[in-house]
Amino acid sequence: MSLTEFGIDEWVVVTLARTIRDGEIVFHGFGSPCAQVAMYVAKRTHAPQMVLVEGSTYALDPEPAFIPATSNDWSLLRRASHILRFEELFDLAARGELDRMFLSGGQIDPYGNTNVTAIGGLPGPKVKLGGGGGGCNLSATVGDLTLWTTRHRSGRALVEECDFITDLGHRTPLGTREEMGMAGGGPGTLVTELGVFDFPEGRMRLRELFPDVGLDEVVAATGFELDVADDLRTVAPPRFEELAIVRSIDKLGVRRMEFDARELERRFRWSSHQAGCPCCT
């Protein structure tokens, strides 16, 4: 694919990358190729001083030749400055020094709570999902959370109430983060394949749309009353440099595993004047 044409997978990755601020210590969970690739994009563009913590090896700032389909693989150690111990990663987070983490979920509610444990809850799940890894505690203390899902359009991802809360958003039935004594900032951004959300006062709000998505589609795909920003915008397009990095780091295309085949058919190209948003093709 040329650099003048790109897919939603690449755009989502770049959009995730842009939630990272330079200098942050950032962690993606395992089994999270979009977030994983996004971190390399950020590191090589606007956030050279971020500390990139690999999701299962806990390698610091590696330079993998490719991203494998499993997260605990020696290919992800290449040129790492160090490999944190399991304990060190979690302690760093518990004492509030892990600045950002990426979290996804089979279900996400308006407060940004996520369910990666079981559709239908436990016991007696309808679908037993994989589980939350370290998210349950990490989500409580990490400085800032970037959420994402690539299954928004399914209508099953953004729900009024999670069947089970695995990872903490801004508020649970027990109260707010503050009331529960959780020091982390909670979700700041949610990126889906339809648009980008923020969390003013702890509740999800649609902030940006991808140009080939209508507001009505988002409303239809969302299981609760949708807050929409007054100045709803189009998601900023990726830059050539960012796309090039996505493709060079993710040679095997593992980021695409997160998307339905139909979503991957979405193609964007730069308008010739390069000023505004890319057009859908």
């Binding site: 395992f30 089994g31 999270s32 190729p33 299962s56 090896t57 490719f66 389909a69 499993t70 997260s71 605990n72 693989d73 020696w74 290919s75 150690l77 490999i83 111990r85 399991f86 304990e87 979690f90 518990a94 369910n115 444990t117 079981a118 436990l122 016991p123 007696g124 799940p125 309808k126 679908v127 037993k128 999902l129 994989g130 589980g131 939350g132 890894g133 370290g134 998210g135 349950c136 505690n137 990490l138 989500s139 409580a140 203390t141 089970f164 809360i165 695995t166 990872d167 903490l168 649970t172 027990l174 109260g175 529960m180 004594g181 959780m182 020091a183 040679k251 095997l252 595993m257 997160e258």
Partner: protein, 303 residues
């Protein structure tokens, strides 16, 4: 000389009793003690209570083969690649195993309590999540200094830890390389520790390589080359993604699990030799090629 802790796979697994709480080392598709897992299936252990962080075929196979009674892991599956763990998912949905899902950090704190000889540890998170509701054994503790109320978790000393390492000497000094995942913590916190290794070597060689688990922690050491297959055991071999796919396909039904177990685990050849014959020596050898070039490694990673 220190006692000789070398054992056969069969003798080592006799240290595991029905109903034991068993900690499994490694993670996902990385350095899981699969030879020990297969031997548990061969010997027909029952009602094991598995604990661990993020795991894959090890737990899925033990659940599928009816060895596990309860699962207290933070994740069981095959990531975005091969998706949910079919046997685990089916058992969970059927209610045939107890799902005690945990969080990596909570488990760490419980292991630390055991390792530190303390009856409990505090955690910052968990409150407000569904995980708390799955664990009536958790409690609460008030900080005597700040008055904060924190979730308290009880010490967890697994009956047995199963770990696959790179090399060891006969006394049980074990060399591992990072990532260590929870292997160290399991070894320190567990009552009994069984280690398989790619190679048994002499004491000087393991000391030179770097001992990570000193012998006094280890009860049995078994030479089991390829003992992590189909998960990776670098620098010896990459993971066998095609074999994992075969398992995931098979595990979609009880019959498929039975056929897999019959073909690979309890196969005629017997033991690990039989397993390796069933997988094929050429294919196993190819997994050691990862270091020849990036292209070769990518090829293996997308097999």
């Amino acid at each position: 000389m220190r006692p000789d802790k070398r054992r056969t796979l069969g003798d080592a697994i006799e240290l595991v009793r029905d109903g034991d709480t068993v900690a499994i080392g490694g993670a996902l598709s990385y350095r899981e003690p699969m030879a020990l897992v297969r031997e548990l299936v061969r010997q027909g252990r029952r009602e094991l209570r598995l604990v661990g962080s993020a795991h894959g075929i090890d737990v899925d196979l033990l659940v599928g083969a009816g060895v596990a009674g309860a699962v207290e892991e933070s994740y069981v599956g095959f990531e975005q690649d091969l998706g949910l763990a079919p046997a685990y998912r089916r058992a969970a949905e059927a209610g045939s195993i107890e799902i005690r899902e945990t969080c990596c950090y909570t488990l760490l704190q419980q292991l630390r309590a055991a390792e530190y000889g303390l009856p409990f540890m505090a955690v910052r998170g968990v409150a407000g999540t569904g995980i708390l509701g799955l664990h009536p054994e958790y409690g609460e503790v008030e900080c005597p200094f700040t008055g904060e109320r924190l979730v308290a978790v009880p010490a967890l000393a697994p009956d047995v830890a199963l770990i696959h390492g790179l090399c060891a000497d006969r006394r049980g000094n074990v060399h591992l390389r990072r990532p260590l995942v929870l292997d160290e913590r399991f070894a320190h916190a567990s009552k009994r520790v069984i280690v398989t290794v790619e190679r048994l070597v002499d004491g000087d060689e393991v000391a030179q390589a770097g001992v990570v688990l000193p012998s006094f922690l280890v009860d049995a050491v078994v030479e089991a080359p390829l003992g992590a297959h189909p998960t990776s055991c670098y620098p010896h071999y990459a993971y066998d993604r095609a074999h994992l796919r075969e398992w995931v396909e098979a595990a979609r039904s009880d019959d498929g699990v039975a056929a897999y177990v019959d073909r690979y685990v309890t196969c005629a050849g017997g033991g690990e030799t039989g397993y390796q014959e069933a997988v094929g020596s050429e294919r196993l050898a190819a997994l050691g090629d990862w270091e020849t070039s990036t292209e070769r490694w990518m090829e293996l990673a997308s097999a």
